[in-house]
Amino acid sequence: MDKAGFLKQRNRLDFASLREWGILIVFVLIVGILMLLSPSSFARPTNLINIVKQASINGILATGMTFVIISGGIDLSVGSIVALSGVIAASFAHPGEYPLIVPIVLSTLVGGVAGFLNGIGVAYGNIPPFIVTLGSMTMIRGMALIVARGSPVFNVTKAFENIAGGFLFDTIPYLVIYFVVTAAIGAFVLTRTVFGRRVYSVGGNEMAAKVSGIQVDRIKVAVYSISGFLAGVAGLLLASRIVSGNPTSGVSYELDAIAAVVIGGISLSGGSGKWYGAVIGALLIAVIGNGLDILNVSAHFQLLIKGAIIITAVLLDVKSKGNRT
């Protein structure tokens, strides 16, 4: 190999790793600052568990979003799916009506079906993912309002509330466990399975993937189905957490999920990104929110800071890509 090329490659590796470390450094830095500012509250173990709990729902959505974005797409409909699945879950969770399994199965199934239809639109309808999921976002929000007749669905069983509200050994919230399990399965599928590898290849170069005998359309349907299913799970968990199904909940959740993915260094142009990106992204967003709440910073400043971090992350993303060509 020629020496110049070799050298360039070394630089690229350095930059790539710097970028990965970059977000970790930011993470550690922010945690450090918050610990200094609020040693008594922020750094307590119960608060650390609390942060992971608050990152959970966004983290689950971001895991699904990771698949979609690595495949080169985007899914704007997850926030609406959260609302629809939450409303459906709550509607079937009134005391003395159905066994607990019914709301669980129905809400996740609805999410999966919505995602599947998104995938069909993208893969076979040949419509850009942004448009397909923008349309379905609107339609699904409408369905949530129809199902709920415009107002929140409440009066759910204790068992239903316990799905997200319970604790393992009285210390670890179930939510945290769902998040960890989802992220672990997502990581395994992305890094160790044939399917995961194909998702990367479709996002990296769709034409080359097709020539290589990969059924690109099926991969696309699968990633949107995964994202929809996980949005269904998130909706179920949110409904259980707020003990009601609210048809207007989940607004802009898709943006939080995309933000988590982008902050985690997963490229919006597809084909690259690490499995832990979404986990770090979701945790970072939760840490910032938690820290600023504890410090009683106005919500308006919180938005400002959150936005600044997203732009910084994307800036790193763009820089690294400019370096590659």
Binding site: A4, G5, M207, Q215
Partner: protein, 503 residues
């Protein structure tokens, strides 16, 4: 006034501590074609990037018309009358041809600062005049995206020529062109030369260099090996200087017994792309498909592989009718396809060497959908070694490899599927001499192992050097078939130019 229009003296360039150019000098006269040859990594491209201001040299100086100049960026180079046609083309794909020709120097109808209105009509008119003068037949309103690789390159060449520069650098200008287009290009080069323009010509095709160049400069490992008039070189001497050793035979044709028919194509047609193509391909055979750009060669290859559906006709593999809807079907029938454009359709540039190599055969390296990483690594390393792919490690991004090594990655990917039939569309386009020879050797041993190879190539010497048989396409029709003992450049070109034949 110096006798040289351009002098680059004692140029050195290091990246960190590695010397990429070591005291290289280049002197070019007005009105000469000065070829620079050397293997990839010899420093040709770096030298040209210094000339066009992409890099600044660590030492040495550049003189134009005897005057020392500093060139800090390509725009300055252009202002000094130095134009470069890059090997890797960067046209704006969604603009039309005329807009690309005038990119950055649009003809303005009304001047309103940043809101000036571009005179599209004038641009089209000028473009058509330029094309007419060059004998290029491309509509000025076509989008760049719609053009073939060769057509894009022609546009770039016309663009550089239209800038009326005193020094034009051409980096592998013909790698995507057909013989006819090359002839057109050479005519243009002649015209430029007679107008006193200096042309720096970088090419891997030594035949061309001997045909067109007045002077040859040989670089190796960043050092100047020699500069001399073309009459003082012969083919063997040049190769010896380039690689530092003898290459006994550039096209290592092995004699392999031809086996049974493995692929048969009967009356295959695809709309207006090609019509009624019939041929047979045997085990151990290398069948060349020759023809001009636009003759339908790539379309035919892609259609056989299942990337497009034929309108009529049949394909048989080992006597059985097959109907490929998707490349997945072809892979199952042990057919492999090395596509024309490795960056567009061959590789995932965002992935590592390993992930590219194992992509197609992944299901064979996994159980229950879970990849066996150890096996994957082992297989990858085997292929890296066997095809001598030069890469830092199997985890290196394939984008960071040279063209030749990238092409070997594509080959490795398909060899891993253990194919019986290998379709290769321009297998050595834009890669260096060493890698080319590696690929030729590989093709020979694949044929010896009983594989059937269908090779589309625009390089006649390559086809004539390697193929057992050639079929020639012209404007979508099969106009001729030649056995190895009948091969001659004239015969192939005669068939390739038979446009009006019915068939």
């Amino acid at each position: 006034m110096s006798e040289y229009i351009l002098e680059m003296e004692h140029i050195s360039k290091s990246f960190s501590r590695v010397k990429v150019l070591d005291d290289v000098s280049l002197k070019v006269r007005a009105g000469e074609v000065h070829a620079i040859v050397g293997e990839n990594g010899a420093g040709k491209s770096t030298l040209m990037k210094i000339l066009t201001g992409v890099y600044s040299p660590d030492g040495g100086e550049i003189r134009l018309h005897g005057k020392k100049v500093e060139i800090h960026n390509p725009r300055m180079a252009l202002a000094h009358g130095i134009a470069m046609i890059y090997q890797e083309l960067n046209p704006v794909l969604d603009q039309d041809v005329a807009e690309n020709i005038f990119l950055g120097r649009e003809l303005i109808r009304y001047h309103f600062g940043p809101l000036s209105i571009v005179d599209k009509q004038a641009q089209h008119q000028h473009t058509q005049e330029l094309f007419a003068r060059m004998g290029v037949d491309i509509p000025s309103k076509a989008l760049m995206r719609q053009l073939s690789v060769a057509q894009k390159q022609l546009v770039e060449i016309v663009k550089a020529i239209s800038l009326s520069c005193s020094v034009v650098v051409m980096d592998e200008p013909t790698s995507a062109l057909t013989e006819k287009e090359v002839a057109t290009l050479f005519e243009q080069i002649e015209k430029l030369r007679s107008q006193g323009v200096a042309i720096i010509y970088i090419s891997h095709r030594l035949e061309e260099v001997f045909k067109i160049a007045d002077t040859i400069t040989v670089l190796r490992d960043g050092r100047l090996i020699g500069t001399d008039s073309v009459s003082n070189f012969d083919h063997d001497k040049l190769i010896r200087m380039m690689v530092g050793r003898n290459i006994e035979e550039f096209y290592p044709k092995q004699n392999v017994p031809i086996g049974e028919v493995v692929l048969e194509v009967r009356n295959l047609s695809l709309g207006k792309r090609f019509r009624n193509i019939s041929f047979q391909l045997h085990a151990g055979e290398i069948l060349g498909i020759a023809g001009l750009v636009g003759a339908g060669r790539s379309e035919l290859a892609e259609c056989i592989f299942g990337l497009s559906r034929p309108t009529t006709g049949e394909v048989y593999i080992r006597g059985k009718r097959v109907d490929f809807h998707h490349p997945q079907d072809s892979v199952r029938h042990r057919v492999a396809m090395i596509t024309e454009d490795r960056k567009l359709t061959g590789l995932n540039l965002k992935a590592s060497v390993e992930h590219n190599i194992t992509l197609v055969a992944l299901s064979r390296l996994s159980r229950l959908g879970i990849i066996d990483s150890d096996k994957e690594a082992q297989v990858t390393d085997t292929y890296i070694k066997e095809l001598s792919i030069r890469t830092f490690s199997r985890k290196t991004l394939v984008a960071n490899l040279s063209g030749g090594n990238q092409q070997k990655v594509v080959l490795a990917k398909w060899l891993l599927t253990e194919p019986d039939i290998i379709i290769m569309d321009e297998p050595t386009r834009g890669i260096d001499v060493g890698a080319k020879r590696d690929i030729y050797l590989l093709m020979g041993s694949l044929a010896a192992a009983g594989k059937a190879i269908l090779m589309v190539s625009s390089e006649l010497p390559e086809i004539m050097g390697l193929a057992d048989r050639v079929i020639v396409l012209a404007a979508g029709n099969m106009t001729g078939e030649l056995a190895r003992h009948e091969f001659s450049q004239e015969a192939i070109m005669r068939y390739a130019s038979e446009f009006r034949q019915n068939g």
